[in-house]
Symmetry: C2
Subunit: 482 residues, 2 copies
Amino acid sequence: MSSGKLPSKSHDFFGWYNEVIYQAQLVDESPTRGCVVLRPYGYALWENIVHIMDKRFKEKGIENAYFPLLIPESFLKKEAKHVEGFSPELAVVTHAGGKQLEEPYVIRPTSETIIYHMMARWITSWRDLPMQLNQWANVVRWEMRTRPFLRTSEFLWQEGHTAHATREEALEKAKEMLGVYIKFITEELCIPIFAGEKTPKERFAGGDATFTMEGMMPDGKALQMGTSHLLAHSFPAAYGVQFQDKDGQMKSPWCTSWGTTTRMIGAAVMVHGDDAGLVLPPAIAQYQVVIVPIFKTDEEKVTVLAAANAQKQALENADIRVHIDARDERPGAKFFHWELRGVPIRLELGPRDVAQQSLMMAPRIVAEGADRKITVAFDALVGTVHGALKTFAQLLFTRAKTYRDAQLSNATKGTLESFGKNIEAYNGFVKAGWCFDRACEEALVAYKGSIRCILDEMVPDEAQCFGCQKPATHVVLAAKSY
Amino acid sequence: MSSGKLPSKSHDFFGWYNEVIYQAQLVDESPTRGCVVLRPYGYALWENIVHIMDKRFKEKGIENAYFPLLIPESFLKKEAKHVEGFSPELAVVTHAGGKQLEEPYVIRPTSETIIYHMMARWITSWRDLPMQLNQWANVVRWEMRTRPFLRTSEFLWQEGHTAHATREEALEKAKEMLGVYIKFITEELCIPIFAGEKTPKERFAGGDATFTMEGMMPDGKALQMGTSHLLAHSFPAAYGVQFQDKDGQMKSPWCTSWGTTTRMIGAAVMVHGDDAGLVLPPAIAQYQVVIVPIFKTDEEKVTVLAAANAQKQALENADIRVHIDARDERPGAKFFHWELRGVPIRLELGPRDVAQQSLMMAPRIVAEGADRKITVAFDALVGTVHGALKTFAQLLFTRAKTYRDAQLSNATKGTLESFGKNIEAYNGFVKAGWCFDRACEEALVAYKGSIRCILDEMVPDEAQCFGCQKPATHVVLAAKSY
């Protein structure tokens, strides 16, 4: 493992990304193709994500369950579009227990097929609906090109699966869960996003409507941060899921699925980090505060560590995650260490501070013009740190939104020729008019772009389709994407 | 799904076990050989286990990480005993991404091999030690005979892996983590166990010492509840894990691994359940308390539900997990429903109770001679329920220990002939003398028994080996096992 200077984020974005995640020990390379190891400092981010989101799912009536990793190969074939979408990426178990299997199993790329098989056993009447399940699990998709967090052969995720009596109710649930994601991504990950519906071309394999959230990465490309689907009515039917409705009729329920993955960690690294290393959103950081004790003599060490421990305790009592770096290293080396690891707030505490019952607070980043360090009295520490963490999160969001908005252009009256070259050359997002025709949508491919989502916005007067110049019926977000 | 009367636990133990876990909706059959689906009510038990144990691991300095599911086949072959132990059970991925793989991957049966591969990258100096990792994950072992929770082709578990500079320190850690397990199993799962070391014959494939906990199931057989291993020194060395010690010498670290699984849920079901259904230990029950509102008119319903909600809130504020069963069913049907599901405490609340500001408390089981129901005033409810949950857990443990001790015989001066037939015919545990000779140990096989563990007990004067009748050097626990 190298631990030298990082490449510049603005000059060598991917060089920077690949180095910062290894040097900060979020991940390491693994011997398994396209997979990384999540080291403790990286896995802790996922644990915090799980903790926050799981609680919110449960508040929405979602229950967790666990389904088998291995799915009979024939299950995927029951829904034609679904198997078409996933079969190039499947990992297949052909041998087990020392023998060739009669029917191979695929490692789940997603679990709709086996979950519908089970729902067919569990759902018989309208009284069994809604059924609202979620699974925290690993999935495998054997992707050609991989990048840590953003796209790996195995990844950790949650997949929600619900069944409802009516299309309206299912659609409402798909949107409700998208709302849970939007709140988490904007408030906790501090990343601004555009949310909207995918075009029919870009939908989930087997979906009737796919909702997405698109964040802008620092290279101006769009990253899909999570999706929520209303599934085609034929999908649960293909697995025999039926219920007797209040009117006595047998019907197929309407289903949703929705998922987010460890990819969210990659997005937070990309959007917030800088040339000194990670800059972590406080909600997911393993440590929100690091205390660096400063001392020369053994006597000073005793005094300073006692004070550091007392302040740590006070902060922890207020549910703030704190670490004291008591290693045998120079303070400067510790500052560098925790800057690289993106801890939001550093507290420095020496013998003179203890004498004055105060310490120095240095946030990892501050707003332009603000003091980089301030003195805080012990008895004001908890309140000050609470406020500083909140300010820190707001600063991350504002900074990311300012950047995003500067790379966003409005071309609802423009043509593909007028903005396509810009997408190809400089990236960035374009709001464009669209006529809903697939041929127009596909014209974007020539510029390496795509429609990321249909925005829920009024179509301006005289807006025209970027492709055919006919009157636009929709406003869409066009961009290059990961 | 059937939901009829359960078979009698005492007359048809396995019939009872298989029915109770399905009827109480802990699990359902799956289309994947040897795997079950963990339904929400069953998965919630695992979530509570994870929550409690994870916190205790972290208090011992353990950090969570995540390693790939798929391990290159060649990795397992580097340690001869390890591959010998696991190869009959492996599930093998031979195709992925539409192509045959050059080297197959095995789905992890356990992760030592890939973790040591990574530790070889991370450990270079004594300063990097101890390294103390844990992983919560799914593993696959393609077992011949499976039974829900006890032995399934895929199961959920945690696997701890630590590396230390010295054998003493590693051995101490292996025992410390065993201690964490013992505390959890006896205090939270309320199951008495015998803990001790495995014989060389029964050790982990690649281990130097294996510590185990053996619980007695209601059929008198032993169930291994979890293990902790000191690994053979050659094991990390086979993966190139080395460090420079303080003396400047390159050395191989000493390693431990330790694991517990969803099997613990099966043990709790078996040990505590009765002919009416599950009896759940309060620490892991999804709901510790269920409130059954009783009313006839709509007006009564409003009054009763308001009071039920107020009491629920009070209990939840005291960290008690409560559910109000407001379904449109008769109270008797609800009592049956929650008895089957083993909720520790039922509260019944009708309009007359509301008028008297009190309710009826009915624990799922009570000590012999105790009242099955008592009246509790609203303002004494939180304290009374707290106490009742504690009493409930103690009762479960005492009841299980009384049963276990009645099936435990002492034969440290006996011969295999004198107790072997009893083990074969009636099951139960036997404390016996042993000379440490493998030939004597293997004589137990004729009676379908085995040495479950070597007990850390004084060898009584004149104790003799059950096999050769020579003076015993150890006291062992002999039994049939799962």
